[in-house]
Symmetry: C2
Amino acid sequence: MGLDIDLKTEDLVKKLLVGDITALPKLISLVEKGSPDVPAVLDLIHPHTGNAQRIGITGPPGAGKSTLVESITTNLRQDGITVGVLVVDPSSPFSGGAILGDRVRMRDHYLDQGVFIRSIATRGATGGLSVLVPRALKLLDAAGFDIILLETAGVGQTDLDVMDVVDTVAVVIVPEAGDAIQVMKAGLLEIADIFVVNKSDRSGAKRMANDLRLNVHLGSKNDWWEPPVLLTQGHRNVGIDELVSSLRQHRDTLEKTNHLSKIRQLQRRKEFEVSVREEITNRLIEATDSSPKIIELIRKIDSDEIDPIVGAHNFLDDEGILSP
Amino acid sequence: MGLDIDLKTEDLVKKLLVGDITALPKLISLVEKGSPDVPAVLDLIHPHTGNAQRIGITGPPGAGKSTLVESITTNLRQDGITVGVLVVDPSSPFSGGAILGDRVRMRDHYLDQGVFIRSIATRGATGGLSVLVPRALKLLDAAGFDIILLETAGVGQTDLDVMDVVDTVAVVIVPEAGDAIQVMKAGLLEIADIFVVNKSDRSGAKRMANDLRLNVHLGSKNDWWEPPVLLTQGHRNVGIDELVSSLRQHRDTLEKTNHLSKIRQLQRRKEFEVSVREEITNRLIEATDSSPKIIELIRKIDSDEIDPIVGAHNFLDDEGILSP
């Protein structure tokens, strides 16, 4: 296969596979940076992945997602279940820049080896979330975490993409009039496996939950699972048992109905496509300095002799790539 | 070159190039659908593009962008300048679904042949805004519009992508406390060539403008243009003359300092990369049914024998594409 790997990176992978989570931050950084070692890393960890339940926690900013993630983590830890948390930060161009924030956030679990939390900066990455997150998830999976929580920022396309990388999607909202509309406009109704009306001590929570229950059918993803609508108060630990049990139930249903393998198969196909796109871009950028053919093509595009899309067709035809 | 084109499509292009804008909606629809005719269309119109000034109008929802776009259009029409408007709708999966909305919006210009408005649905498109919008812009450009206004929805990544397809970016905000922070968090400070504090009759407008003026240096894109901060009231036509004159001034400065050609050259390179990614994905999807090699590779990915990123490397190596 010829997948090259740095000796230091190989050591990190060995550490990871024996459950030494000190290797995780460095490996995640390699993924964020798009290191050339990444394919080899994923090749090495591949036999050790696929076990963790992958849960996405999404919803508008201010819905209390981080507090909820913390409550879920505490709840799972009481049963001895290990939890990895990835926080997707689409607005930050800085890798690992939120490490201090992460530590502050999960104070209760700071010394707990059964909990790991890390922010991922997706801004600027080719393909963003859909390239980086599946790889980071697999690293946590290979490290042996039972459950991985993926928390997204709740703005724009990111939240729709989350569906493509997890088994279960929980959409969190708060009982404010505009919020439900926001959720539907953003297409979150269609991706939710579980709805969480958080901060349910606020007025209107029950009415919102009822409204959602009536509308859940409209956007339901499939006919074998009806998304429950749960009321929680993340900061007071209210409703967390029910939420955790719903998350488990969704996973059980996925397995029993044979949908887990189907979902993941579709996700792997998407990952393949995304990886092809990322890799051809990397190779193209490198060839811009070295291949005479590419240099001439780029010259034509730079000088506006041909439209870039025509250049793209010529390039793929010249290279004989899957000519139509 | 072997770029195929349907005879009907070729007729539409001929109409477009003599300024018959009835051809525009159909051609934009072809672009939205990713029709196989698109490369040939862009090849045919290529010699007739590059003349229009491309202006992006972005900012948070509720900032009054559409009213402002209408006021700018009215102002430009008084000088006989023709205006094409593209409204990017990242949340809508429906092509051309906002046509009625478009007509309602630009009532004043409904019968004016010098104005054209169209929404573009980018959700679900491979590459989204960065694939579709440059192509739609070029269609309007080839139709002869002097100025093209690109209005984005003001949520997430879309607004940052807008920078890659226009000459001038105007960021519109309203004088509310959270808005300026939102703008900075979203990275809009860095992409603005012109700041517009709209609804400037609201309290706090002047203070916000002053705050922005003080901070403009921090995020400034370059050293040859200092983004002005303008106060407007789109619905009352206040400050529109100044805004239009700033937009013109930015274009003039771009040309005088030779930055227009540099910016567009960079944009064409991005377009090329994006087009390569789009086209290889299309070819890959087609080959999934026909090429024995690809079928075997997909089988390995489907059955989880190899990691998708490893599959991507194998594929590109097998095809001998720009092997590193």
